[in-house]
Symmetry: C2
Subunit: 518 residues, 2 copies
Amino acid sequence: MSNGAKDDSEKKTEITRRQLFKGAVGAGIMASTGTMALNLMGGKAEAADRSIPKTWDETYDVVVIGSGFAGFAAAIEARNAGAEVVIIEKMPLHGGNSIINGGDFAAAGTKLQQENGVKDSPELMLQDMLKAGAYLNHIELAKAVAYQSKDALEWSETYLGAKFPRLNFHGGHSVKRAHQTENASGSGLLNKMLSKSKELGIKLKTRTKMVRFVVDSNERFIGIEVRNNFTFPNENSGKTAFIRARKAVVLSSGGFSNDVVLRQVHDPRLNEKFDSTNQPGATGEALLAACIAGAMDVQMDWIQLGPWTSPDEKGFGYVPLFCERLVGYGPMIYPKTGKRFFKETGNRKERADAIILLGEPVIILGDSYAVNKQVFPGALEKGMANGAIKKFDTLEELAKNYKIPVAPFKEEIAKWNSYVENKKDPDFGCMIFPDSKPTVTGPFYASRLWPRVHHTMGGLVINKNAQVIGFNMKPIKGLYAAGEVTGGVHGAVRLGSVAMADCVVFGRIAGKNAAKEV
Amino acid sequence: MSNGAKDDSEKKTEITRRQLFKGAVGAGIMASTGTMALNLMGGKAEAADRSIPKTWDETYDVVVIGSGFAGFAAAIEARNAGAEVVIIEKMPLHGGNSIINGGDFAAAGTKLQQENGVKDSPELMLQDMLKAGAYLNHIELAKAVAYQSKDALEWSETYLGAKFPRLNFHGGHSVKRAHQTENASGSGLLNKMLSKSKELGIKLKTRTKMVRFVVDSNERFIGIEVRNNFTFPNENSGKTAFIRARKAVVLSSGGFSNDVVLRQVHDPRLNEKFDSTNQPGATGEALLAACIAGAMDVQMDWIQLGPWTSPDEKGFGYVPLFCERLVGYGPMIYPKTGKRFFKETGNRKERADAIILLGEPVIILGDSYAVNKQVFPGALEKGMANGAIKKFDTLEELAKNYKIPVAPFKEEIAKWNSYVENKKDPDFGCMIFPDSKPTVTGPFYASRLWPRVHHTMGGLVINKNAQVIGFNMKPIKGLYAAGEVTGGVHGAVRLGSVAMADCVVFGRIAGKNAAKEV
């Protein structure tokens, strides 16, 4: 197992898609893609390996890959349908992105909405999803999420015991329909799922990485090859073992926001200069393993970027909470020219695309009036403490710090201020809010912005039974999938708070059907 | 071979993606997807078939699948590199879409451009391609096309003997760089390729359909299973045979604009209500067969629609030549309301998306002044002869014919006319050209418009050597691809006239490298 490949795999962060695709026939490209393959496929395993083990190390009815919302929902439903269930998780901790997200769960027509006087319906939620998705959504899937969202939320509350006391609004939704967990984190639901799964006798194996699917001669998925005691991201760590699935495998391994090579295949702009808001394990090797075994992928090139993140802090950070409250109150500046370059109130995708085109971080700034009025104090303090938000007494000082040419910058601010006074931006059509004021009152606050990869809309094709569809257009026997590893639910753009609904709705469907597979 | 499946395959036009994905677990969906699979994979063949034939019916060094520009370019270069070459083509006639296209070949920095005073460069062409492609292009591929376009054109002229006397402009290009064949058709090049291939002793087998790739235990592509004497679209016709490729297979089977099921997986809007400008054989089974055998697909959801086609004539037709000359001179009307609904001068994608959202054909109209000034007489006459363009003495008559409510329609025309007089459209921002006049002078001409699928940008991932990349991120041994079956060259949007350049550039690369494969 230790075959010298380790040295290669340790170089993986240096390998870019550019290198992958520029090679000549022969040694150059073979070497670099060889490394790439090791990176993606896990050390020893060969993509072409189609062998069936003579003996299995462990056997269950249903094997669930990944321990986020979708994986736990599947495991719990499969167990309640009588199956013996294991969840495997490659990371040392369960929960994936689910345990670090904001805990907002979109659901339509709920009790909390009624109590808050919000009129909503599954059909309205569906229409919002389709519009955001540029009508690329697989309609039956989007419909399932919208129409079963209320039931999924109620199941999370009454059966699992999670609490969702707060109703939030997210852009692109027609009404407030994001039901937020008590602790404003996905852990508010995920930990309830963990407790329930323990109570039900579901086994959770962390540090267990899926390497390939085992498929029998009838093209039925009958189990997986794993590495036990895996230490992420060392692809050669751990020990090979085989886990049999008597009934079915459920793939709920999440998205690939942190997989630089894979995301660059589908959106070549997203090189190593782009960080991600996701947990480090959000890579695509399980998705690719499914494709190697015959599963069809879809809409992989729709990768959502947050335009509001800063290169000066990690993960999601505090700058998004600074930036998103300032747009429409302060200008966004390209440091090289000192000028504005895009509509500050444009949507996520438009703004991210515009920043990427410039090729370097931009600046968002606001004066004391705007910042004190708009920005949540906690976010401001924390962003300043970690250095991602900076305070300047004068605009000259601000310009100097970010190497902005002072004269054109000051001209631009004067122009912006005239637009604010006229409440109209003839240059880019930015919305200027009624209570917005010219940027004149020091001190001034600013942050650098560089988009970060946030969500991957594409993934495996499934039908409304959560069966994975193969490139032969048939449902694959013994393979179900749910959550971010699937594609089609969201189409081009996922709306905020719909991921939780998607994971719980389709996780439950996948678990129920996996337990019934014959 | 005749196993009753024929009845199913004959039903294929009735099967929609909706049916595919709405099924319940069990008989319902299995039946419909079973039919789907037969449709896509060709009767008998099972996707899972990985057997290697004991004997081969025919053997060549290089086997080329598809007889368009890319296939012939590959075959000719492989032959000139010393390989024994066969081209297989499933249709009764060679040429695919290449032989029916308009014969426009984008090339940068050519003699004809110099003679016409056009300043151009490969870098400018590359930048145009990237901008149109929303920077999703695989840059090394786009670069290869832009930088080798001149050489590919010269090869077509000097080596093959094709003539490109005319220089045309296409939207999205910075300069005139479309070199049009003498007969204003792709056949002007394709037939020269055919002659040369005969001269070189390249075998062309029409009515020969590729069913699956044969892959050895080292994951090397060593040949293909075909059906000889295949009669499109009868998937069960013909007789199974095996063709060995000593060196490599080149896949140049074109796009999938006419494959309703496959295109609906990637863009669910594009159901059977959408016709295509392509030849009937533009289906995706060869692309899918490659994916089943391990090839990776990319950007399949970028499917180009022409917003200028009419449901009242077949193929490309004459209405595009009517519509595209009228935009900016006459309004586009939604018959249900009698009102305009979108910027007439918006780009192809914007207009097509807007029409699709309405869900039914719209009307483009012009008065005698606009039509006589703008529309090429031949196109007008031919469109009128086939009934797709109609003439009316009055606007009332026009409204009545298309069931447009008369009063709101006449109000809308009056409003449009006021915009034309002011040279400004405050409703949708349509460009109003300086010589545009109000729509008042009878007779009036009109056509119904409904978008038609024109080009599929996505396809197999290749590197700049035209090697196909697998889901394991490695180049596949023995498999090359070129032309519309590949993805990444064009990114989100293919510019007019770049397809020919792409096919010839990458066809040649694929052929040369296939002949060298060891």
